[in-house]
Amino acid sequence: MTAAVTFEHVSKSYQRGHAPSFREDTTRTVRRLLFHDVPRRPQVDALRDVNFEIEQASSFAVMGPNGSGKTTALRLISRITYPTAGAVRVRGRVGALIEVGTGLHPELTGRENIWLYGRILGLRGRDIARSFDSIVDFADIGVAIDQPVKQFSTGMQLRLGFALASHLEPDVLIVDEAVSVGDAGFQRRCVQRMAALHKSGATLVFVSHAPTLVASLCQTGIRLNSGTVEAMGPVEEIVEGYVAEAIATETREETAAEPIKVRSWDYQFTPRRGRYLGDLAVQVFIQAPTPLVDPVFGIGVSRPGGASLIGCSSRANGLSVGTVSGNMELRCDLEELPLEPGDYEVWFTAMDDRTGRYFLAPHPLGPVNLGRPPRAAAGSFESVGTTVAPVVVTPYRWEVIRDADATAAGQAAS
């Protein structure tokens, strides 16, 4: 079998930080030569000693989290960038199905852009002539074709750029997340186009975060992580590994990134005699591993697994806690709850007052019991097939304004 693409010990590093200025670079060079004390500009390794082969006419998936080196790998295949070490060998013409809408010239018409940008992307004049109608169809721009591109909607521009790229007939077709452009119908056309090109013998290299799409389009692939190849093989294994890794990362990030943790909590409920209202005191024992400036806390009551009924903000109460670091115990007294007795939930949250971001997103602490509902609670009515279970109480008073006979008499009179 022939390889369409071969990565041989490929490493690629970028310089970190802002764009260089002539002055800065000169100073660095001179100091390095004279004093040998200035380090080179810090480097970021996008790929580290990567080796793999993509077989001719196969369809190959490149998966991995953001920043794992996928895009760098594709850029190397399409000669946009060059490796720092190693070599990439590519057999035949490379074409990339990428979003190129930004490359269209706004002053020129759709038609002119098709001719000019088509060529810049690598379509030959006779290819454009032959597939002109197909390009217009694909982009779905219709009569707008003779208007300047600046009058196109963003969607039309993207579709036109993509339609051009999709009419390339390369030996190696690179697709980088481009399918996410446009509506469902457009996406379907893109996938069909990719499948058709692959069927006609092109090698397909597909980068995507969409596991099902990858699994349906590709046969083999690799999974990258931090610039190295973590797995290589049948697409099912790659997708499986990717999903598992993504879930693991998510869980890790959740636990690591939480600035506030609830260590424990407790509550006391004191029913009041003669009324349905009672007093609820909630204590929360929290821990902040890193110092947090002026957090705002919130405690509230919600129906079990349902809508929040009461929320108490420490800011509305005028409580300023300053900088929180380490352990802290908080208490919130909710007096005269206007709630029917029963089972509820208590939730807790903490947010950054300056940015409005959560230190800890609202989440239930646990169930609370606010008194046993009386057998025939005042607010509970059972009828045939329906139950009305009100939650909120309010002081009320019933009275009779007119008795039934009087009403009947009044109706008869009129």
Partner: protein
Amino acid sequence: MAASSGATARARVNPSALDVFTVDAGRGGPTLASLRELWSFREVLSAFIVRRVKVRYQQALFGVAWVVIQPVAIALVFALFLGRLARFPSGGVPYFLFVLSGLTIWWYFSQTMAVASDSLVSEASLLRKVFFPRVIPPLAIVVAGLLDLLLVFAVLLPLAITSGKGPSLTWLFVPIAVLIVVLTATGIGILFAGINVYYRDVSNGMPFLLQLGLFVSPVIYPVTLVPSGFRDLYQILNPVAASIQVLRSSVLGGQPPDFFVTGLALAWSIGILAIGYTVFTMIERRFADHV
């Protein structure tokens, strides 16, 4: 389905017969292969040229006229202040005609330099997404500018005839003048365009350099103003000066240019192009990482 018809229409060649291209960690450089590749991308070059011309002539209200009005208006101002009032020497030719001939060459050179040096930076989004020989955008600017040059010639030559500098056989040397300035503009244009990707200082320094260049080149004064001991060397080292001098002697003077000086200036302009292209191919590999 319409979309798939294109893919199936093309018969695929035997896979193992395809060319293998290696993207390696080498330094690059001006290889024969890079020139062959440039030739194979000639349709891309023509697309860049056509686009430049279209955008330039369609956008402006005056369109074509604008290209001519600018150098002619500047020549008129120079003619009034330098010719009439300051009485600059012009070698027996009406000063307006004299300065317009110099501006014809200089205008092409300076306009080309200004646009070409920004041509890669302004195509940043394309450079990050599409491969084509990176020399194409600045090269397209140099070529597209020839249309402007032609239009200014279309004003200069009839004016020369009306003031008695009739068409003569020496006009056949005009292409030499154009060749020298085009080679020089290409060499410096691609060099500056390349350096500009790394150091935007080039964009900042360009207006200053071009103003300096106007006075370093014999646009508003005759080359005879340069001390005779340095005159030849001056024209050889500054090919723009040689180009202007070839144009003036052949069109306004009715004499063939100095073959020795012109030949060496032509050789040096080829040298400038070679240096520019060599440096360009050595730095182009990291363009996409910096632009």
